[in-house]
Amino acid sequence: MSHSTLDTPGGPIAYHKTNGDGPTIVFCGGFMSDMEGSKAVALEAHAKATGRPYVRFDYRGHGSSSGTFRDLVISDWLADTLHVLDEVAGDDILLIGSSMGGWIALQAALARKARVKGLILIAPAPDFTQRLMEPSFSAEERAAMARDGFIAQPTDYGPEPYIITQRLIDDGKTLGLLHAPIELSCPVRILHGQQDTSVPWDLSLEIADTLATPDVVVTFVKEGDHSFSGPEDLVQLLATVDGLLG
């Protein structure tokens, strides 16, 4: 699983690039994701099979890239994405973002409007720090956050917590998207599993309403979960790629 490395001012970013013709498909993973996950790898196999260029990468603090997760925030991962778009991908881009990667993909598309020819958002979670994280904090967690600058949130699969920093929350506020029209004109496809217990599926309807472009199709998969990486989900994802790229 050797990978290529892109040097950035913030540190090296690990990535895999597949060469081909047409717009470069770039996959942006979620919070604590890894570019070895099912979706990123399935997209790569599909890109190879169809002769399209493709890039998967790890944000700093994730997977094989440099950096420490808790020291980094969403704008760092957006900066990583823009480095990948500018220095690894070709001119034309199809951006795919999963969960937090959906937020980052929307922001990256706004930053590179002329080059991003389409967006696929999977269980997108724009504004999740404000919309989903902060409201979930207990009184004790709010007090701990004020006192320590971070909280340790338990996960469903064990008490080893995720560290959520006040910096992450504050940074999220500067990147919020859902308070005003999202001025994108490219086609956008949104896929969301209705068994998602992390990001409510009706958030995708709000995103669709907030997008300025009229070319938005939202697909709900009744049995899909947040990871959207079961075999049928992957088939749906790849078909969506084919649908946008023709």
């Binding site: 994701s33 996950g37 969960s99 469903d156 699969y157 217990t197 990871s227 079961g230 075999p231």
Partner: protein, 295 residues
Amino acid sequence: MTGNTPPIPHRPPGLDPGSVSARNANQIPDQVRDDGKRVTHLVLPLLALALMAARFPDHERYDACVAQVRQNPAAAFSTGLDWLDQGGGVAAQHCAGLALSAMDKHEAAGDMLLEAANAAADGKGVQLLGMEITPKLRAQLYAQAGHSYLLAERYAPAIDAFTQALGHSPGAGTSPEAADLMTDRARAHAFSGNLEAAFTDLTVAIGILPDDADIRLLRASAARQTERLETAHQDVNKLLELRPDLPAAWLEKAQLAMTEDDVALARQSLMRAIELDDGGPVAEAARYMLEGLSL
């Protein structure tokens, strides 16, 4: 998002019954639910029976029927039934059962093979075949019935068949064959949701074959799921000592790490499984589990 971290997608069935939605259960590879191994079980005793039958008058008919199973199982089934009508006994039933199995009619195959095993156990058909049916052969016939029931997802008769096989197996339950049968019965117990019974059988099997990696892997999984984490650790450690490059061992280590809250170790173990099996079914399962670690 953080208050509702998505559940980790477990490895599909194997010894994790019910851990994956029905939607995905048959489509995601599973390191434990090794259908290939079961099919091997079905083929090997067939050869043994063929070798034994070669000494008896009907051997050519039996050999021809079995050869037909591989070429044209539907025709072989008819051949077997016709032969049974003509008094072919256990050999004819056995061939017909194998034909059903080859046609993926596993429940019917199980019924037919069980009938053959019962007939053999009762002594019926012995004269027709002109052969002595040894306890080992009877055990093989019951085991084949059990494997067919497993493939048919009919766990209660599978457990019964393996229990019968163990009763006929030579060596008073201490032979390697008995360990295999215990392991097969453990699979049936696990699929039926009785992980305690699976653990018990696997513990007996490990007593007989302590260095068998497959059994270690299964018991590690059963031990983890019955919250015997110390035993699960022992099995995983032994497994990795025996087979450090076995991708499924690293997948199990990742499962255990998740159970024990060690996300970093889980991630590291998943990456090792992916590295060792890149492009294979275990890596695919590991990638799927990796997805569950992100938000």
